[in-house]
Amino acid sequence: MKKSKDDYLTIFFISIIGIYIFIALAFPMYAILSKSVENQDGIFIGFENYQSYFSNPALVYSIYNSLFVSIITMVITITLAFIFAYALTKSRMAAKGMFRSIAMIPILVPSLLSGISLIYLFGKQGIFRELLMGYEIYGPIGIIIAEVFYTFPHALLIIITALSIGDARLYEAAKVLRSKSVRTFFTVTLPSAKYGVISAAFVVFTLVITDFGIPKVIGGQFNVLAVDVYKQVIGQQNFEMGAVVSVVLIFPALLAFVVDRIVQRKQVAILTSRSVVHEPIKNKKFDTIMFIYCSIISVFILTIIGMCLYASLVTFWPYNLTLSLTNYQFDLMDGGGWDSYYNSIRMACYTAFFGTIIVFAGAYFVEKSRSVKTGRSILHLLSMMPMAIPGLVLGLAYIFFFNHPDNPLNFIYGTMAILVICTITHFYTVSHLTALTSLKQIDNEFEHVSSSLKQPFYKTFFKVTVPISLPAIFEIGIYFFVNAMTTVSAVVFLYSSKTNLASVAVLNMDDAGDIAPAAAMGMMIFYTNAAVRIIYVLITKKVLVKFQKWRIKTA
């Protein structure tokens, strides 16, 4: 068949996005893999680096530690998040919206901020240090508490989705059969949410094992893989070994990723078009218990944030408790001063703008284009990859790739552009999935009709697809913005004097012992993200109504 002008255009755009992903992901990953089998002079030495890595007991011990905190955190977070999600979906308790908003707070701050807060709460001068009964907050206990805080909303979102698809017809059947509520829980609720829970568990596991901010701040001498990468590179100047630990770190993340993909596929299968949404019935005792439970979790989250807010305002903890704004004088500290805050905002805006365009266009071609089947599946596969790559590893890979003198793209090293590209790539997959989900809801008939009317595809794209998908597009934008504000791991190797970032400043100020200013900068990130979220809610409520009128059923 002769290819039409449309086909060529499609091929052209798929190639552009494909090339982008290759440059931003595939080539750097190749660079880090090859670095791990080279010596310092760049000569191939096979698996010698790996041998010396596995012969060092201290480093191998980190693998054990990493698995330990990741699994414990996974169990705790999933349990807590499941009950919370259960309360939100299956009870009729009051203040559901408030609880849900509070539970989302951890997403708005850099992960390490919770570690800083724990130091103020449970450190040697902490307000509640007696509660630990002599145990040290520095080490696994601190890491696990902080990681639970950090991963809670991520798990919650997935489990809420899983629980809300529970089919009401099954509940009805259970009721007719006079099944006890406990029995209903185990035979109806749990099985239908099973895949969501497994998926959430792996997401939590991956987040923890690849997180480097929290163990760095509150880990004490408890070494984990992610911090080892940082120490090898920054402390020992041993890039090859950093590459080796990175490759080791990819494995558990990759495994989790594969399991998650398999599970996700099954999850979709149990949702049929005939499912009916389950509406919980009122049960005073149950609702009260759930309300109390959610209140306790909310108090925990608010305490962590509140402590940071307070600590950032205290003049000299713990000897001078008068309140002042001394800690907000960032220009006198490490981390790049107020400039780093403005840089972060710029970076977040660029990331949201370009990221949304690239991701949405990419998802569009994967889902909707009518030609080049192989190109589309390759594009989809590449889009799923970033999920399995820890940010720290991506950042290190970017040094190897972009700072190579023979690389024609070498000029972007040390600029804002490399930070934006790295961040877009790091958070590509989730955005890609959001876009895909939204695009799948649009009937392919639109494409077919426009094709038979001999309309170029981009006309349908701008006139139909984009307006319908506006909610998803905004969501992707906000996702990029918030994550660009909080990410540390992906950019910690890549910032330069002109592109210091607020999140990295939090890390560096804590590193230099200035924890109060670190808390203050963390709070600035929180205020910004919270403000952006609120604006987003207002926009979706007001402006989107115009484009989304058709969604509202007219009675």
Binding site: G139, Q221, I234, G235, P318, L332, Y350, S497, G513
Partner: protein
């Protein structure tokens, strides 16, 4: 079609605008304490208002790592204030543009590279010291330490913080000085015993002192300058100069080979060892590279200068990698089970 072309060119322009050109200014890598950077740049600009300084500051280990990482594609124009041992290491890698700044003959010979022209010039020295929080010590009923050996007393178990030498220049100078004071075997034996008392190793050299100042740990192995600063802020700390002598390290400058701004870099290298610059360093550092300039610094403990050991930098620089590897093998896994 036209719409799309416009869109693409818009995107391209946006991306290009993210890439900043970098002319008329110097990118300066440094490990000087953050709060001094503005003052240093301002003082320099009094004499050279046309040269803009872009600081890249981090802990010694981190700046060193960054410079080595960028060896084939240098981002820095000049180093102003980084540990001498790191510079010696980088000189060996051929990363510097040899240049003897004007007035180099006025420096103490210890504070310059022996070759002609010199690859690096020293500006000041920072000296190890122990920050002790008096409030916390009293709370625990501890006696004050007066020597390194005292820090290994069983009563301090879990109450001492020190910097990790892998990332911190201060940590490295501590370790290399102990190996010189106590001898190789005696040094490791001392660290074995000290290790039992360590609550945690920090990434930065200032952190143990800042933590001592905040009462997070009673005893912090750090450096004198940091202690003096915290004391000036009203922290209840005492700065102890251990009786066996204290290690020290100089901060030095070097021009990066391949800089596209060699003229300005030379101007800065010249200026950074003038008397005016030395007086500027002296506001914080008790020892500067030009003899006869330094005046006593407020809050510095008495007897600090006499306690400075005769530091063998050659030893420290050549054995850096081996010492760090040995240290990591012995102590970098505090969390391993006790059994």
């Amino acid at each position: 079609m036209k719409k799309i072309t416009t869109l693409i060119s818009f995107v391209a322009v946006f991306f290009l605008s993210l890439v900043n050109a970098n002319a008329g200014s110097l990118t300066v890598y440094t490990a000087i304490e953050a709060e001094d950077l503005k003052r240093y740049a301002a003082t320099f600009n009094e004499d050279h208002p046309d040269i803009e300084i872009n600081w890249v500051r981090d802990s010694t280990g981190i700046v060193t790592a960054k410079l080595l990482a960028e060896k084939n594609n240098p981002q820095a124009d000049i180093i102003w204030g980084l540990a001498g041992t790191s510079l010696m290491l980088m000189k060996g890698e051929g990363m510097f543009e040899p240049y003897s700044p004007k007035g180099i003959e006025k420096l103490d010979p210890k504070f310059r590279d022996g070759d002609e022209p010199a690859s690096w010039t020293g500006i000041d020295a920072w000296v190890a010291a122990v920050c002790v929080n008096t409030v916390e010590m009293e709370k625990h009923g501890f006696s004050m330490p007066s020597s390194w050996e005292d820090l290994t007393k069983p009563e301090y178990e879990g109450h001492v913080a020190m910097p990790n030498p892998n990332s911190s220049g201060t940590g490295f100078l501590d370790v290399s000085s102990w190996l010189q004071i106590f001898g190789e075997d005696g040094g490791w034996d001392f660290m074995d015993r000290l290790h039992k008392n360590i609550s945690h190793y920090t990434h930065s050299g200032s952190k143990p002192c800042k933590q001592a100042a905040a009462g997070e740990v009673p005893i912090g192995v750090s450096f004198a300058f940091r202690g003096a600063r915290s004391k000036a802020k009203g922290a209840p700390i005492e700065i102890i100069v251990p009786s066996e002598g204290v290690g020290w390290e100089m901060e030095a400058n070097a021009i990066i080979k391949g800089t596209d701004n060699l003229e300005d870099a030379k101007t800065l290298a010249d200026w950074a060892i003038t008397q005016k610059a030395m007086e500027m360093y002296n506001e914080a550092y008790a020892v500067v590279g030009m003899p006869g300039v330094a005046k006593p610094v407020e809050h510095f403990p008495p007897g600090l200068l006499d306690a400075m050991i005769k530091n063998d930098f050659e030893f420290a620089a050549t054995n850096r990698k081996a010492i760090l590897a040995e240290w990591q093998k012995r102590y970098d896994s505090k969390s391993e089970p006790k059994s």
